[in-house]
Symmetry: C2
Amino acid sequence: MDSSQFREAAQGAIEDIINYYDNIADRPVLPSIAPGYLHHLLPDGPPEESESWSKIRSDIDRVIMPGLTHWQSPKYMAFFPCNSSFPGMLGEMYSGAFNAAAFNWICSPAVTELETIVMDWVAQLLGLPECYLSKGEGGGIIQGTASEVVVTCVVAARERILRRKFAHLPEGEDKMDQMAEMRGKLVALGSEHAHSSTQKAAIIAGTRYRSVPAPRSTNFSVAAAALRRTIEECKAKGLEPFYFTATIGSTATCAVDDLSGIAELAKDYPDLWIHVDAAYAGSALVCPEYQHLCPPLATFDSFNFNLHKWLLVNFDCSAFFIKKRRDLIDTFSITPSYLRNQFTDSGLVTDYRDWQIPLGRRFRSLKVWFVLRTYGVNGLRTFIRKHIKLSEYFHGLVESREDLFGVITGPDFALTTFQVKPFIPSSTAAANEPDPRHEAYTNDFTHDAEARYLEDANKVTKEVCEKINSKGEFFLTGTVVCGVYVIRVVSATLNAEEKYLKLVFEELVKAAEEVRSLKSE
Amino acid sequence: MDSSQFREAAQGAIEDIINYYDNIADRPVLPSIAPGYLHHLLPDGPPEESESWSKIRSDIDRVIMPGLTHWQSPKYMAFFPCNSSFPGMLGEMYSGAFNAAAFNWICSPAVTELETIVMDWVAQLLGLPECYLSKGEGGGIIQGTASEVVVTCVVAARERILRRKFAHLPEGEDKMDQMAEMRGKLVALGSEHAHSSTQKAAIIAGTRYRSVPAPRSTNFSVAAAALRRTIEECKAKGLEPFYFTATIGSTATCAVDDLSGIAELAKDYPDLWIHVDAAYAGSALVCPEYQHLCPPLATFDSFNFNLHKWLLVNFDCSAFFIKKRRDLIDTFSITPSYLRNQFTDSGLVTDYRDWQIPLGRRFRSLKVWFVLRTYGVNGLRTFIRKHIKLSEYFHGLVESREDLFGVITGPDFALTTFQVKPFIPSSTAAANEPDPRHEAYTNDFTHDAEARYLEDANKVTKEVCEKINSKGEFFLTGTVVCGVYVIRVVSATLNAEEKYLKLVFEELVKAAEEVRSLKSE
């Protein structure tokens, strides 16, 4: 493919992309194909000879489009969003052209330096404490996903505590043996509602994992007292907690752990690495009305959020901020001779490969730079506030039908979770009187009647969620939190609008009435 | 930015990209800026209000371009290449548009299914043993970099040996204690010339690491006997080797370990996970004349190579093939309720998140699909063979000046490594007679005279390499292999041509003569 063929193909791609975005709301969000669909549409091996771009392009419509889930659709309300934007796409275009495995500063200085600068911009934008800026001992780096960030932290935390505990021993086999023994006693901690990535990171790091209770009574958040209890329980068993993921915006309900309380607690456990995972909700910190969450971060070790979720930068782009970059470098730096150069040796430059697991790196800061400049600080705030307002609207709709639905949490960070109320046979409830068991929603489910009620509610809620998803028009996530099956509705996609929330609500009402009426038969 | 503004901006980007590629050979490969250059050119924080695209675009030329290292230039001959291509860029464009965090099949079935199909295509293209195809118990996955693949393997290998050794114990604290104790005894192995990623992976996995000698006498390759010796030495110390990285194409010299011998050895150590890292050289396997390397892979556990190095797919794209996918899933699978769905539960679909460290995934198979179809099998073979031929040409040039240069290795996989011969005072060598000490190049450096000679040769070679790089016109890598400082010249970029190899050779001759004449003064 020469330059002029590329021009023609790329101009066609632009039209395809524009057409896709202009009409995305007309498509059902979920594909209607069955597992293995693509196998029947493609040959078993690569072609011997070159194929024309026109043939390849036509296959995008024929074989790819029917198998896509449309995350950019305003009817996508599942998981958390993964928002794209036009300036983000332009960033990827230039990044692909300047293609490099930029593992060292000298491998492409602009890649490293723009990253340092835009991460400082982002830190300021979010109101993060000064310790996370590059001018001191900290700084920011772009990693692929929050999961990778968490692994990076868990491993660095594991090595930091070992370095500290055995600093007095001379290097050698004996020290390695003692470190290995202690490594076997280490425990990583996370909220029972923390993203599964902390548990996975503990597996990768080869340490134990314990979850910290975060019951409904604390709105699914980790209270400092609960964390302290778990730490002390571990210590009593001869185990050593070395890491904790605190969460701003848990996956299920967008719960925020008790950051101030945990910051107090941190003083008693100086070897505990505390990382704050704000993967989705962190984007809201661009608005001053959320920045009261930031001061405790100064006490913690690291923080991350994904610009690819709610801040318009194409996947992947997880911003990871570290208070003391030495905590990463002391663990991850290995410099074989082929990676040495005068700039690295001078210590004047940042080699981000020592802050992460992979060696090579893409030029991801370009898309961040383009998005921040295209929207401006005020544009980004407007974007977030629109979604917050939409979720208040949706929450109001749910509350307006308390005969059918019970809100469980929210709206928090544009997420509302709720249950469908089960059908109550008329023999047990007068038609115009509220059934007392509905009150169970606001209490703990300790009694038998409440437990039975919850079981019924979980069942109908799951059925309603599956009914909506099976139609494919909208995509919602159902999940279980402390035994409660909830439907999650997130109103934070690029083109979210009131009318789509109204539409999905009407579908929910219809589905709830259908499911309940089937139960009543 | 609306659709029509995006159209205009993206069309401009295409012109910028075409212009960049059409004129890339005219630029010096290395930038001439100093560390921190960008800080002086950009504001300290993000703009409050939206900026126009024309302003942003003009900054690419003003502030980014001067700080780029041009990996796509035919004058880039350092490290290994990181080749881009127009069809690869088109893949990134569509992938950015279909933006999703596709961690499950249902999150975008086309993302998973196209990846399975193109990885099967790639396996066939390379002549990999059948066990690496998805139809059996194995399969392929795209990961970001070879480093991530190696971490994935080391962690899976660590957990596999623990599962096997303690399968007889009931689950519980006692089992965990015993596993933790054994984890502390585990040793990962790699060639002394294996990429640093194996050592880094061992740090991440929290295991020990030992390197296996690969001396010049075996052309810097690991012989099976050397591996066996290292394994037995570890066992004698009470340690347990559980993982070995075998290499096709080592970083310094493109050495290939003794795969057939190691495959024989593997029968004696069934719990040793053997991974083959062919990050760069693996692309050559598209040519049948290299596929004699493949049969031993059937005995090993996993294999990877980077399509983003030598096979025209933009960074990042590391193809990772596993013989038994259960070996990954048994370690990495965690399914919290919010990730459950009928398709995952059915077992009919692949959830690649359980084959890797991160959760989310980009739609990277698109660019592979575009490249394989645009070039076709024959086009890719032609591409590789052109580079092989160019390296033979360059090797001939180096050999033509044996007064100045001594080849150390190659040409292997388009890489030649060589030293500059030091200046020999005329008092010790008659003008027209070869100096006997030059013969030292072909022997071990055991004698004092040879050691002094090597020291001199290392010094001038390093000076010559730095002299070339300091001009910035070409970019070469110097490295040390078994005490020998070599210059590496790789002739495998997209637009590599004989004329650029001739040019760099002339520069090398000039620099060598200058450095030597300074020494003679």
